[in-house]
């Protein structure tokens, strides 16, 4: 073991604090945990996309020796009378009630000690449904001919959804509007107007630790161990469902085997609690990988974008219509619709902007946030479109972006003045790394090459709060209590580095307490690249308070000003022995002004902006459509990196994940049924799919960030898809407007371009 490093902690490429536990197989994950007396739950799921439940026959399942119980939604109602949950809408029943809304919705739960036995019993359950017409496409859902829910039931969590309470006859869970200037007038007087429509497919997080929750309900309190990115929200929501004060609900979260947004807010926790209440024993609900496909996914989207330019190539107007396919339950979709929707016009300086962003219910598995909170879908469309506009104007795509780029001091479409974001540096760095000014060899014969770039802008979700505690023990050792969930992004290490920086001690000597709502204070959630900024400030403030108390203690015991007395000695001097605690707390909630509901305008849309982009060089085989990424450059502005090595792996990992969504990942459906719900049929990037790759965090400093830093987890996803599509057009002159960019899609486009379109077979 190497000796702890004293001195400056911020900027160190320190190995993760939990590295040893992870390489030795001893790190704890909920999925492998078990409690004494625990029952295992296996679920019987809906086989129809939309229907009224006529009957559920559970007799054969109940007769299986060893089955403890079989429960339905009606049983759940006996212990939780109003068993609907969700972060934005209370639309999701713990087990289906009266109706099923998608293929795969949990309808009945079998409990047994042996999971195989429970699974066998599930196979013996039969349900009859009166099938109802179903709607799968987000544009069709907007017609409201088929209604997924009879009435909207917004949660009280978010103020801007209140007006939707009790609304009937719609699938639209939120219609976010932004209006700046007069887009219609500007289009009328524009020299040229371009309009295109882009689509993204349904993909999923596929964290290798599948979704899981273990609940142990007792009459005076419930303990939930869960793989959750939002322990505080789980606590609040379970308390609400039980009609309890929060302090009777304890939520424990060990390390997560990946999250990427798939473990946000509330997933299986309510079900585990309800089943534990019914069984009066601990219950574990652990999904298998195929079940995750029926639980949470990424929003497919349709984005119609229209741009008007003047005779000098300046963008004068942009109109964005975005339809988000949220599936059967809203989950966090309305947040994606608004919080990302307001950036749909891209990182450009445009006086006249109109954005409509619609969250839509459909009869598909629910969709939530996936590494980017909607931004990758938006950047895919606006950066493909921007490239097409540049090419139509016979402009260099880089120059055209430079001319129109939104720069510091200028108003964003929300009216908020852009500041503190190195978007131009990101764009320039990508171009420099690609040698954009130099001639490019486009290849010849059947192998053609092309290059493309793309940049995106994101605002952080607001307003949100983080609270942290720093506790100095009698021997001077430091423990930090914070609710940020380390799911692989390295937050524990980064937080310890920031605390170590303040207290002038090696980060590796600092203990991060595993998340447990009985001891770790409130945090809004580990999501949207918010934690390093928000929780970073909270731990910094807590450490500063502890530091001030240490200084006061030194004065109290008569130490001279600027004394360097070791902490342990100081405490001993105060208490006469190794005793006591020095506790600092920190709460951070940044300023924010909510947008005007009619215009989306606000003086302060976000505490900080994030910028990132990618450049790609590709080679296309014109005989087969086969595509090879020859080079992928990913550049982000994450402010001042707290841990450069972890930042590098986050950039690389995010870009490779997005590469999968760009080139091959896609959930296939037949009548609402997922037909490739397994790793055998749903391909994700493997070790052979890694292209030659360069990653860079540009030199930047976030002036209101902790130590100049801000989040990084999502950033490298932004530009990958459009950069590659733009490179394909540069290579072979065809434009793909729908993800994924498969060889078949390229080949079809090449055939269509040659006036020999292929049929559907």
């Amino acid at each position: 073991m190497t000796a702890p490093v004293t001195g400056k902690q911020v900027g160190r490429s320190l190995a993760r604090l939990e590295a040893r536990a992870k390489v030795s197989g001893r790190a704890e994950y909920t999925h492998t945990m078990r409690l004494p007396g625990m029952l295992i739950c296996k679920l019987f799921r809906s086989t129809v996309p939309h229907g009224r439940i006529k009957s559920i026959d559970m007799s054969a399942a109940r007769d299986v020796p060893g089955v403890f119980a079989v429960y339905t939604g009606e049983d759940v109602k006996t212990v939780i009378p109003d068993p609907y949950y969700g972060p934005a809408f209370h639309d999701q029943p713990i087990l289906a009630l009266n109706k099923v809304h998608y293929v795969g919705e949990p309808v009945a739960a079998v409990l047994a000690e042996d999971p195989h036995l429970a699974e066998q019993a599930v196979q013996l359950i039969a349900a009859e449904y009166e099938e109802l017409p179903a709607v799968f496409d987000e544009i069709e859902a907007a017609d409201n001919k088929v209604l997924v829910h009879q009435e909207l039931k917004p949660a009280s969590t978010f103020a801007d959804l209140k007006h939707l309470k009790g609304v009937k006859g719609t699938n639209c869970a939120l219609d976010f509007k932004l209006r700046r200037g007069d887009a219609d007038k500007a289009f009328a007087s524009a020299a040229q107007v371009f309009e295109h429509t882009f689509k993204t497919q349904k993909v999923l997080h596929l964290a290798f630790e599948p979704l899981v929750a273990i609940a142990d309900y007792k009459d005076d309190g419930a303990t939930i161990t869960t793989a959750s990115q939002s322990p505080s929200f789980v606590r609040t929501e379970i308390a609400r469902l039980l009609g309890w004060p929060e302090n009777r609900v304890r939520v424990k979260v060990p390390y997560l085997g990946g999250g990427y947004g798939g473990k946000l807010y509330i997933k299986l926790e309510a079900m585990a609690v309800a089943l534990s209440m019914l069984a009066r024993r601990p219950v574990k609900v652990a999904l298998t990988m195929d079940e995750v496909f029926y639980t949470i996914t990424k929003h497919p989207s349709t984005f119609r974008i229209k741009t008007g330019v003047d005779k000098n190539g300046k963008i004068v107007a942009r109109k964005c219509d975005v339809w988000w396919n949220g599936g059967a339950f809203a989950d966090v979709g309305p947040r994606v619709t608004q919080k990302s929707g307001f950036t749909a016009s891209g990182p450009y300086d445009i006086d006249n902007v109109s954005i409509d962003s619609y969250a839509l219910y459909t009869n598909l598995p629910p969709a939530g946030a996936l590494r980017g909170f909607g931004i990758p879908q938006l950047v895919w469309a606006y950066e493909s479109h921007t490239d097409m506009v540049a090419r139509a104007l016979k402009r260099d795509p880089f120059d055209f972006r430079k001319q129109n780029l939104l720069r510091a001091g200028r108003p964003h479409a929300t009216g908020t003045i852009l500041k503190d974001v190195a978007i131009e540096k990101v764009l320039d760095t990508i171009a420099e790394r690609l040698n954009w000014d130099a001639p490019f060899d486009h290849g010849s014969g059947t192998l053609r090459r092309g290059r493309g770039l793309a940049v995106g802008l994101k605002a952080v979700i607001s307003p949100t709060t983080s609270v942290a505690i720093v506790n100095v023990a009698g021997d001077g050792s430091v423990t930090v209590y914070c609710g940020t969930v380390d799911m692989g992004q390295g937050s524990d290490t980064a937080m310890a580095q920031m605390v170590g920086e303040v207290l002038n001690m090696p980060a590796e000597t600092i203990r991060m307490v595993p998340r447990d709502s009985d001891v770790t204070p409130y945090d809004m959630g580990t999501l949207g690249s918010r934690s390093l900024f928000h929780m970073g400030h909270a731990v910094r403030l807590a450490a500063e308070e502890a530091k001030a108390k240490i200084a006061a203690m030194a004065r109290e015991v008569g130490e001279p000003d600027g004394s360097n007395i070791p902490l342990a000695e100081l405490i001993r001097k105060k208490y006469g022995m190794q005793a006591g605690n020095i506790v600092g707390t920190g709460t951070y909630k940044p300023d924010y002004v909510p947008p005007d509901p009619q215009t989306g305008q606000t003086a302060n849309a976000t505490p900080f902006w994030m910028a990132a982009g990618s450049g790609a060089e590709v080679e296309v085989d014109t005989e087969t459509g086969q595509l090879r990424v020859m080079r992928l450059v990913n550049v982000v502005d994450c402010g001042n990196p707290i841990n450069p090595k972890i930042v590098e792996t986050q950039i690389s990992g995010a870009a490779l994940m997005q590469l999968g969504f760009t080139l091959f990942e896609k959930m296939h459906f037949d009548g609402g049924q997922v037909t490739n719900a397994s790793l055998a049929d749903y391909k994700i990037p493997g070790i052979h799919d890694v292209p030659p790759m360069e990653n860079e965090a540009v030199e930047a400093y976030q002036s209101n960030g902790p130590f100049g830093a801000k989040g990084v987890g999502e950033l490298a996803t932004f530009g990958v898809s459009p950069a590659i599509a733009n490179a394909i057009e540069d290579a072979v002159g065809v434009r793909l407007t729908e993800l994924p960019l498969t060889a078949e899609a390229v080949f079809r486009a090449l055939c269509a371009k040659d006036n020999r379109p292929l049929g559907d077979e």
Partner: protein, 159 residues
């Protein structure tokens, strides 16, 4: 379901026995009866490598490997590597190269790397990638994993 039977095998160098049913896989037995959770199920189809364990020196997917087949065999899991004083050089290399994020797949990659380096102490990049292509990492720490294997191989040579 059918009755359990007793199997005897060597687990990380110790003689052990377990009561297993015919349908139990090795992961269930390691986790349920020996509290070893370094090998863990993810895809459940033998495709991701998170459940990798060695049986008689060969890496197998523990989620598909029926426990009864381990009767009389020598089973090695990630927990056998290193000591409280010092990590195994492969574990150390994974830390230094930053070759993981969430860590869920890491024990599988480490056991595969141990097997690779036992067979081929100085693998080329292509050999590394081919040998590890049966292990997946959703955090996509692949570039760092290749670096970790190379680092461990280099130390093999010098050490």
């Amino acid at each position: 379901m059918t009755a359990a039977r007793t199997i005897n095998f060597t687990l990380n160098g110790r003689a052990v026995s377990a009561e297993v049913k015919p349908h139990h896989n090795l992961i269930e037995v390691l986790q349920g009866q020996f509290a070893l959770s370094g090998a863990r199920e993810s895809c459940g189809q033998g495709l991701c490598g998170c459940c990798t364990v060695q049986v008689d020196g060969k890496p197998v997917s523990g989620c598909l490997y029926l426990a009864v087949f381990a009767d009389g065999a020598e089973v090695v899991t990630v927990e056998s590597l290193g000591s409280p004083q010092a990590l195994d050089p492969v574990q150390q290399a994974f830390i230094e190269a930053g070759a993981f994020q969430c860590g869920y797949c890491t024990p599988g990659f480490i056991l595969m790397t141990k097997t690779l380096l036992a067979r081929q102490p100085q693998p080329s990049d292509d050999e590394i990638k081919d040998y590890l292509s049966g292990n997946l990492c959703r955090c996509a720490a692949y570039p760092e994993i290749v670096n970790a294997v190379k680092l461990a191989a280099r130390r093999n040579k010098t050490g």
